[in-house]
């Protein structure tokens, strides 16, 4: 599919989206499948069975388009909703730590607590 095809596909059909399927009526049916590698006798094509695909989906290492996956839990949905906020917080903490380290290295006297000791101009009076 060329870039032009992708553009028109996105324009006409739409962008990728997620939709809820509901609760599976029989989840145990997937457990009865073969857990080995599936190979086509005529085409020679081989692939992982459904059970392993779902396991790969959990790792996020497999493109899950077209394959129903378990809906993420409440905590993971909260993490996904606040991903930008968490990332921004992480960046701020990283920058703060870097700044603090630079200050400590370049201006070691600035963070010295000696001015709080007795006898210093603003320290407690003896």
């Amino acid at each position: 599919m060329t870039e032009v095809d992708i553009f028109f596909t996105h324009t006409i059909v739409g962008q990728a989206m997620s939709i809820e399927m509901g609760r599976p009526m029989d989840r145990t049916s997937a457990q009865g499948e073969s857990t080995g590698l599936q190979a086509g006798l005529f085409s020679g094509h081989f692939s992982l069975p459904q059970v392993w695909k779902e396991w790969c989906l959990i790792l996020g290492a497999y493109p899950y388009a077209g394959l129903p996956r378990r809906r993420p839990g409440r905590f993971r949905r909260w993490l996904e909703r606040h991903a930008l906020l968490l990332a921004a917080g992480g960046m701020i903490m990283l920058l703060s730590t870097t700044t603090l380290l630079v200050v400590v290295i370049w201006f070691p006297n600035m963070l010295s607590l000696s001015w709080l000791l007795p006898g210093s101009p603003i320290g407690p009076k003896l």
Binding site: T9, H10, E20, R23, A65, P72
Partner: protein, 141 residues
């Protein structure tokens, strides 16, 4: 209580290059090279060389052959006709979501249903050899 499943529909990854919009009505013999997203009404003889997605509010009836998977969120078959009037042959997996309604004779390699799905017509599992192309047909790439 079992957790719900979510489905990510990526038109590019799933090669869904055809779409029948809501409010559209198509009738007759139709061939789609690639997946098809139906949000309107499609009737007649359909040959979908990819996956078929029937959106909520969408309606598909007639003689349908799907080479890929079927995702049913809307309705399959008409209300005022017998269940055997509409037949759907799916070479992949038929996913019938909690909003899907099937009033057709459904033949699929595998089926996966979700709570709330309505399956009125008969269902039959396809054998492996039925997935092979016939002499006058070309397997989808």
């Amino acid at each position: 209580m079992a957790p719900q499943d979510v489905l990510t529909i990526d038109p590019v990854a799933m090669n869904v290059v055809n779409r029948v919009c809501a409010g559209s009505q198509l009738n007759g013999e139709q061939l789609y090279k690639g997946g098809l997203l139906v949000q309107g009404e499609v009737k007649g003889a359909l040959d979908v060389r990819g996956c078929l997605i029937v959106w909520g509010g969408g309606l598909v009836s007639g003689r349908i052959k799907v080479w890929g998977d079927l995702y049913l969120f809307g309705q399959l078959g008409l209300d005022d006709q017998p269940d055997s009037t509409t037949t759907l042959e799916c070479m992949g997996t038929a996913y019938i979501s909690n909003t899907g309604v099937s009033r057709a004779a459904l033949f699929a390699h595998r089926i996966r249903m979700y709570d709330g799905a309505q399956l009125h017509g008969p269902f039959k599992t396809l054998k492996g050899y039925m997935g092979l192309p016939e002499l006058h047909e070309v397997a989808p790439s």
